[in-house]
């Protein structure tokens, strides 16, 4: 430990002359730039620059990686993605997988977020009661949150495989085994179930923190008035929890729209494209297929960005409406 600390001190002392020199050069008023410098460099290189390059990719074609060597194609990438002969029939679209991915993502997000919020709310309400060993129970729901998506997917893949424990239970009960992951409907169900299983604890935690911040005298006053439990929930708990609920809904939505890792390992997007979501479409178009269509992938990610922007905008509106409502109350 002592050796480690000495090494650490040595490491930090190495920077000392550099910063003394920088301080003399920049003056005291601008020394701050020296400290944010490394951070800004990384952000600039790996976040801000890519945003600009992304636009250039989306408007150029070909398979070249270097933006300057790519021919300008204008809006062609977007046309390829969005064009359909008949907008009521996915089959007639030029990139029907893209539309399917969007459709799947919307369906997945709506169902998953509603179930996730309801379940974590229920769990948080239960955990907020007078429970013996609350820390332990909270940990129980939270533990899967820390597991890597790949591990989560493999755990469930093992349980759901044809010779797995679920089918063993079915056969034991006298029923026929089910192809959980190769049947389109069931595969979609399990992507929702597994993602809720893995992330629910996180939202439960936020809601529980919100519940514990509600002043206890509110409930005491309600008890004095002999308010029914239903009224207490409607009039005290839910309104006071609303800010946390909005945060949870928005976070869950933004995450759900970007689902990739778990599903990619669990079902690989299949069967067919039944569980292919938008991020997987981007990954496959840009990196996994024989011809890397960077332009198309970039265009698709801009569509995703637009969706996320709309969600963030909706969040702002919701928060503002909620704040206005609170003032009115």
């Amino acid at each position: 430990m002592a050796v480690f600390l000495r090494l650490l001190a040595l490491f930090f002392n190495l920077f000392e002359p550099l910063f003394r020199w920088g301080q003399r050069l920049l003056g005291n008023s601008r020394i701050g730039w020296l400290f944010v410098g490394p951070n800004l460099l990384i952000f600039g290189l790996f976040t801000f620059l890519p945003i600009i390059i992304n636009l250039s990719y989306a408007m150029t074609g070909g398979v070249n990686l270097m933006p300057l060597q790519r021919p300008y194609t204008g809006t062609e990438n977007f046309e390829i993605l969005l064009e359909c002969r008949n907008y009521f029939d996915i089959q007639t679209c030029r990139k029907d997988v893209f539309w399917r991915a969007i459709f799947n993502t919307v369906k997945f997000s709506l169902i998953q977020v509603v179930l996730m919020v309801l379940l974590s709310l229920l769990t948080a309400l239960v955990l907020n009661r007078k429970i013996i060993g609350r820390g332990f129970w909270r940990g129980v729901y939270f533990y899967p949150v820390l597991l890597s998506p790949v591990v989560v997917a493999l755990i469930w893949k093992w349980l759901l495989q044809n010779q797995g424990v679920f089918n063993a239970l079915l056969v034991g009960a006298g029923a026929a085994p089910v192809n959980w992951l190769t049947d389109a409907g069931w595969a979609f169900f399990w992507t929702i179930f597994v993602s809720i299983w893995a992330h629910m604890g996180f939202y439960t935690l936020i809601l529980l923190a919100g519940l514990q911040a509600i002043p206890k005298d509110m409930y005491e006053a309600a008890e004095m008035d002999a308010a029914s439990p239903w009224r207490v929930l409607r009039r005290i708990t839910l309104p006071l929890l609303m800010p946390n609920l909005i945060v949870v809904m928005v976070l869950a939505m933004i995450r759900a729209v970007q689902i990739f890792d778990e599903v990619f390992v669990l079902t690989g997007g299949g069967p067919g494209s039944a569980t292919t979501f938008i991020v997987q479409f981007i990954y496959q178009t840009g990196f996994a297929e024989q011809i890397h269509l960077y332009g198309l992938a970039a265009a698709a990610s801009l569509v995703l960005a637009l969706g996320l922007m709309l969600l963030t905008f909706a969040q702002l509106r919701l928060t503002r409406a909620e704040q206005a409502g609170q003032k009115a109350r």
Partner: protein, 347 residues
């Protein structure tokens, strides 16, 4: 039901709503941990035990015996003859429904047995070989090392440059400071998936494709980290810094001798997050590291499970090893993680 949902704490009686609560929590306990327990038990089964259907919870495997005159150990069965006498016998070969079997004590007299008249003799056997053989067979040590290297180096760098930025944003007033802060916070809104293609280009252009640094560097500047540390450093009194300046300490010294040690609690929270993020990272390594000698554990697991003849016994053992570090972190630091997440709202 409604009572159960709304009633707050502070009741003395143990009524049916409490029973319902504990029932709900127990169901949760089962749903969350049974899959993991099943994984761990399965990872201790031999390959042949894994292919049995229906599967058993405990790792039972068929007993084998060494019989004189045969090179390999033979599987042991309990046979029943016409009189109903049971005898343990080893199977030499099986053709159709008839099996050639010998008594281990008298290997010179094989007999034919109908396979319906015999039952395998099982014994409890933990196949720890699944774990030990990983290192010899699959370069597993290399994947483990890659994962550990990325996690440790990226976390140290994350702590260093994010605390530097947080220090500048909380303890200095300089022109453009507000803009910098807003820019950094704005990146919270830009999920990495959106800039996947150009990030790949940048990593490629700086020559970091198929290099562990290509996974480390893009992610070390995190808006969450800067925000978390800045909020904490704002609570450190400026008088401390002024006193040090009186003693002619350089700004760098003030940063690492005063501000950094005082921010230890916030640094610890960020360190835990960073370890989780890096250890579990998947999409960035997936596009940056395509050669198997640079695979992280997550990538190795993914490519391994995609193979046509997946060897589940090794895959399951590998999965268990991958979840062990995170489990240990959680077991020891549960309180910090949960309170840290509840207060910062980040994962």
């Amino acid at each position: 039901m409604l009572k159960f949902l709304t009633r707050s704490r502070g009741f003395k009686r143990f009524d049916w709503t409490d029973w319902l609560s504990y029932l709900y929590l127990s169901v949760g306990l089962f749903t969350m941990f049974a899959p993991i327990l099943w994984l761990v038990m399965s990872s201790l089964k031999t390959e042949s035990a894994l292919s049995q259907f229906p599967p058993t919870f405990l790792p039972y495997t068929q007993k084998t015996v060494q019989v004189a005159g045969f090179d390999k150990p033979l599987p042991l069965f309990m046979t029943r003859d016409d009189q109903g006498v049971q005898r343990p016998m080893a199977q030499v070969r099986r053709i159709g429904i008839m099996a050639t079997m010998v008594d281990p004590a008298r290997p010179e007299a094989p007999i034919q047995v109908n396979i319906n008249d015999r039952k395998p003799v099982n014994e409890l056997k933990f196949a720890f070989a699944n774990y030990t053989e990983l290192f010899g067979k699959f370069n597993f040590g290399l994947y483990l090392w890659n994962s550990v290297f990325i996690t440790v180096v990226a976390t140290l760098l994350t702590l260093l440059i994010n605390s530097m930025a947080a220090f500048a944003l909380s303890k200095y007033k300089f022109q453009g400071q507000k803009t910098v802060f807003v820019l950094i916070i704005a990146t919270l809104m830009i999920p990495p998936t959106i800039v996947l293609v150009p990030v790949f280009l940048v990593i490629n252009s700086v020559g970091l494709l198929n290099s562990l640094w290509g996974v480390i560097l893009p992610a070390i500047a995190t808006p969450t980290g800067v925000f978390l540390l800045r909020q904490y450093m704002l609570t450190i009194p400026d008088e401390l810094l002024e006193a040090a300046r009186m003693d002619n300490a350089s700004e760098w010294r003030i940063y690492w001798k005063i501000v950094l040690p005082l921010s230890a609690p916030a640094l610890a929270v960020l360190a835990i997050f960073s370890v989780m993020w890096r250890w579990n990272d998947f999409l960035l390594p997936l596009i940056v590291l395509s050669r198997s000698e640079f695979f992280t554990l997550q990538l190795a697991l993914n490519s391994f499970q995609g193979e046509l003849n997946t060897q589940w016994n090794y895959l399951l053992a590998m999965t268990v090893i991958t979840l062990v570090p995170i489990t240990l972190v959680f077991a020891f630091l549960q309180k910090y993680i949960t309170t840290g997440i509840a207060s910062a709202g980040v994962k």
